[in-house]
Symmetry: C2
Subunit: 309 residues, 2 copies
């Protein structure tokens, strides 16, 4: 029996009718319009689900991946991109559809999907690391998502890797995300650019510094720009440290990378792989596979559809 | 049916006949004499087991906790305190006793024991953190020890918490252990003492700096010694960061502290608890319990006896 997976993000509500092999039979997308009231966003989510249900005789459940934190009662406690705080989501869905409803953080959903049908197929223990505007992740052990005591496991972006590091959005200091998210790497590059008027980056972006991103830094480093090489070297070190910590703690068979930064610049995979050689304990490195996720944009909704299992 | 648990450490071989409730019915201890050849140490281990077997009609298995790394074939790949490298341990035991033999790292055994019969009883997810000469740990999820792909999960001491930190015994830099093990905290205190001839520590140890340990630093800090307060503040910060990272990644119900440093100075628990308030994400802090292990010196052998399950 197919099931429905919804990826409820800050920009789009993506829904899919997913069969038992992880195949997306039907896909529907609507804008989230998160600036509107919760009810409106909820209505649009209902519409996506209603349309999907029209095409299926029966579904075994509805799973929703939300870009935020969800408690064990099915309340979205905090979803900054949706501008939602303490929004009960499970209950209205249960009342409307009378079929099993499952909620989970969107990155955890993506990790579950990659483990079941993506790059991590067959791996017993796996960590997904998504490097984009922030850094998020999911941990799968023996095929099961690690949820933790308050459903907030795998907050890997808030692992502290510098005891005297910069302030993070979470209020803490020295978090991995505060040092190595795409946004913060760019911020660091822009800082350094102030003192380096001859950096190639200026040329590449035609002096429009708003265009600087990790991909531009990578390209410019490849072209021999010293500043970009320094920024990339430090970024790779930070990415390596965070991933190595996860590996030394969890000893997974596989680490899957994803997120905007990695997807725009897949060559980073080899830089990171190289860095891990000096950071991961040899015994844990021995069987470690490192790969980029295979399911791309669909990972979230496929994973949401798997929450029923 | 009882089972046998052996704690094979650098100083002593401790063995116990353990009943199904985790009770140690009979306990035997011999010196390891790790400076002798592997065969001799093995013989002494046999003798401990033989004696325990005399007192039991039948045992369901023999578990050995070893202060080192063990591969999935039952070979002790590296045990610095025993001076063992690539020593097959499972095979000779199986050949001699013809009953199921189970090997595991000693700290993992202790974590398992604390989870089943100690401070962690009832906790679904738990992390044990042992701070002594080094920093080691064990992770228990849903009552099961997290082993990892190469049986080397929970190498928490080699989590890097400082990107420009000092060199660690493992060859890496900035490892938690290199910053915050008992030995390294003392080393840091001794460094600072060079410039502070008036520190109270000199008085407390009667100018015999070999006597400085974390407990002395703690006492001296309580008495108002500025240097000791500074050292303790930094140590607590490092302990807090490492533990907070584990909590933010694993979201356990419980963290159990143990090891020489904690056991000699249990008051550190409250300092660490306080520090965690600013380091752990609020959602994960909500249900987190922090406690000191209850099984003390017996944790290793009790845990070894549980490996059969």
């Amino acid at each position: 029996m197919p099931s429905i997976g919804i990826d409820l993000g800050g920009t789009n509500i993506k829904g899919g009718l997913v069969n038992e092999n992880g195949g997306v039979v039907l896909k529907i997308k609507r804008e989230t319009r998160s600036y509107q009231a919760v009810d409106k966003v909820l209505d649009r989510t209902f519409k996506v689900i209603d349309e999907l249900l029209k095409s299926a005789k029966r579904v075994s459940g509805i799973g929703i991946g939300v870009a935020g934190q969800i408690d064990s009662e099915g309340v979205v406690t905090d979803a900054p991109n949706l501008n939602w705080h303490n929004v009960p989501l499970k209950k209205p869905l249960e009342e409307r559809y009378k079929i099993p409803i499952f909620l989970e953080n969107d990155v955890n959903c993506a990790a579950l999907a990659e483990s079941r049908f993506g790059a991590g197929r067959g791996a017993k223990g796996l960590v997904c690391v998504f490097i984009g505007t922030g850094i998020g992740g999911g941990i799968v052990i023996d095929g099961k998502l690690l949820k933790g005591a308050t459903n907030s496991a795998a907050e890997i972006g808030h692992m502290k890797i510098h005891p005297f590091g910069p302030r993070c959005g979470c209020g803490g200091y020295g978090c991995w995300e505060a040092l190595a998210s795409g946004q913060n790497i760019v911020k660091y590059a822009l800082e350094k650019l102030k003192d380096e008027p001859n950096s190639l980056i200026y040329k590449i972006v035609n002096n429009d510094l708003d265009k600087v991103n990790v991909n531009i830094v990578y390209k410019s480093a490849q072209m021999g720009d010293k500043l970009s090489q320094d920024v990339l070297e430090l970024a790779t070190k930070y990415w390596g440290i965070g991933i190595a910590n996860l590996v030394n703690i969890l000893n997974p068979e596989m680490v899957i990378l994803g997120g905007g930064v990695i997807n725009s610049t897949p060559s980073l995979l080899e830089l990171i792989r190289n860095k891990l050689k000096t950071l991961v304990l040899p015994v844990a490195l021995k069987k470690l596979k490192l790969a980029i996720g295979k399911l791309g944009q669909d990972a979230g909704l496929i994973g949401a559809s798997l929450l029923k299992d």
